[in-house]
Amino acid sequence: MSVTVGSGGKADVEVLDSRGLWQPVDGLLLEVDELQVEFRTRDGVAKAINGVSFELHEGETLAILGESGSGKSVTAQAIMGILDSPPGFITGGEVRYCGKNILALPDEDRRRVRGPEISMVFQDALSALNPVFSVGWQIAEMFRKHRGMNKSDSQAQAIRLMQRVQIPGAAQRVKAYPHQFSGGMRQRIMIAMAIALDPAVLIADEPTTALDVTVQAQIMQLLAELQQEGRMGLILITHDLGVVADVADRIAVMYAGRIVEQADAFELYAQPGHPYTKGLLDSIPRLDQKGETLSAIGGLPPNLMSIPPGCPFNPRCHYAHDICRVDPPPPLREVARHRLAACHFSELLLTHSPELEVTQTTEEVEAHLELGLDSPVVAGLDQATQAEQGGEPL
């Protein structure tokens, strides 16, 4: 790992030092093991993550796919160690980076991981960047804090990075402020900050959600190039089935704080092994469905304060049987070669077995949820917290 640091001896030594400390074992960078996170609020405990496990290898792109409230962003925050606490608490599990549980590290050591080793790109660049400092100053901060560089050296580094993320006229624009850039350019600046210290793992949390498709294509291309250059492990968090199909090697689908399916991207799209994944894929408008009703998943994602008993997806599932409502949530298990799914009926789903009967249609799910029950969102919450939660589900 050659890091060209402009300022000479001291910094170079430090770079080598930190690399020596963190060496991936057999290409395995990150292991998340049975991670559990909950949010303790006035009105109860929201279980945002309920036992999430996955691995990330060098040069790999793992997509974490899920709807809002599925826990995908919270997973990223827990890995980065930037979870708001309180109300968020990690109640179980480990996050091992290069074999070492980083959740147990003291704050000081944790800071040496965050940035140089594991880094993150946020969704909304305008609110993630500080409006009162120039972008160059903000990028250069990485070098001042972590590498101990002085002002002019770190600024030179900032210009180099802005060039690397293809910002035109980097040298002139290094002193410009975030509001002077377009959305796509701001996202590039965020990426420049994230890759400043050549991290081994980059977590991109909905990096293109706020952008237009033509700009999205540019940003995804940039991320792919950067990843190939540095053999970086990339965790891409998104809800966009199109983006995932374009770039992911492996996909983990999250629902109600659990990974419900994990598989190779090609296999997952060819044949989903969990009814939720199948529902998501079926709900995309396809060419041959023009003028027909889309097959929607009925109902809503569950309220994390009262996740339904049994499999959390059972109220919306077309194949739910009694076992799904009564038994504890099915664990994520190997259902085919290199494929994990958390459903009692995955094998039947994968083989299109006729034994797998549809037990309820979308209309029945809708009718049940809309008319029979209270809206799942309101159950057990008082009005004040609902208003707070209105815009941004946990």
């Binding site: 498709v213 199909a245 009703t293 809708e366």
Partner: protein
Amino acid sequence: MSTSVRQEVVLKAEDLVKHYPIKAGVLRRTVGHVKAVDGVSFELYKGETLGIVGESGCGKSTLGRMLMRLEEPTGGKLTFDGVDVYSQKGADMRRLRRDIQIVFQDPYTSLNPRKTVGDIVGEPFDIHTDVVPKRGRRQRVQELLELVGLNPEHINRYPHQFSGGQRQRIGIARGVALHPKVIICDEPVSALDVSVQAQVVNLLERLQRELGLAYIFIAHDLSVVRHISDRVGVMYLGKLVELGDEDQIYSRPTHPYTQALLSAVPLPDPTMRHMREQIVLTGDVPSPANPPQACRFHTRCWKAQEICSIDEPLLIERPDGESAHLSACHFAEPRVIL
């Protein structure tokens, strides 16, 4: 559905223009104009869906608001059922508004948090008092809630007690309350989760069938627009650059911008990853305050030649291989993208 039978025109836009002044200095003098919408013409037929796509800042939402007359035009003419919309005043304008309604993008901010669902959906009846007698209102609101798939008993609840998808249903119930002929849907599903989007799209399609509505469907999600639209218009920097049947736009696009836009859409199928060529445009959309001369796309276009910066290409029928549809490019040529 089929465009071979030209149906009745309900809404006709002719050369619509909306410029916003830019003011600066102590005297707040006008130093320029943001040309949000700059000469847009189209016709909307009865019961059809016209999709409008384009990137943010291209003027599609401003266009939507102009069609509602929420924005006064800088120029142009809008005709609804033969009536000139922009010359109507007072009671006549109010009567006209019954026929053109809007559903907004963000179901979190477009509903008043202090009002109950009954008040929100019933508010159109406060303004148009002759539509439903006061005594029948509550019942009518409940019918509307049922129509959009909400529990009529929830009439006394507040918006925050509903999820995003349900809130959008409330917005739609309010939109159809006065039996409009046209509904402007301004990004109605973009704020919703994937699994909920399909529910709302299905609802809009069902209402169109049952109530004979015509939709202007403004969105940036090209696959949803393709699914719901009969015809599609593509906007770039305040102008329509291409307009045609859904099939013409998606299968045989002739304008380079449409081609780039379509090729940038990630397809939810990994096997297509290296099968298709992606046109990655450089740079961002130029500022509408100072749009490029002549063809506005020429600064980002790979086909651009000298003529493109001198002579503005008109939106006229140009051959697309099988037939011809409206396209504003000197070098219009069909290209298979999807």
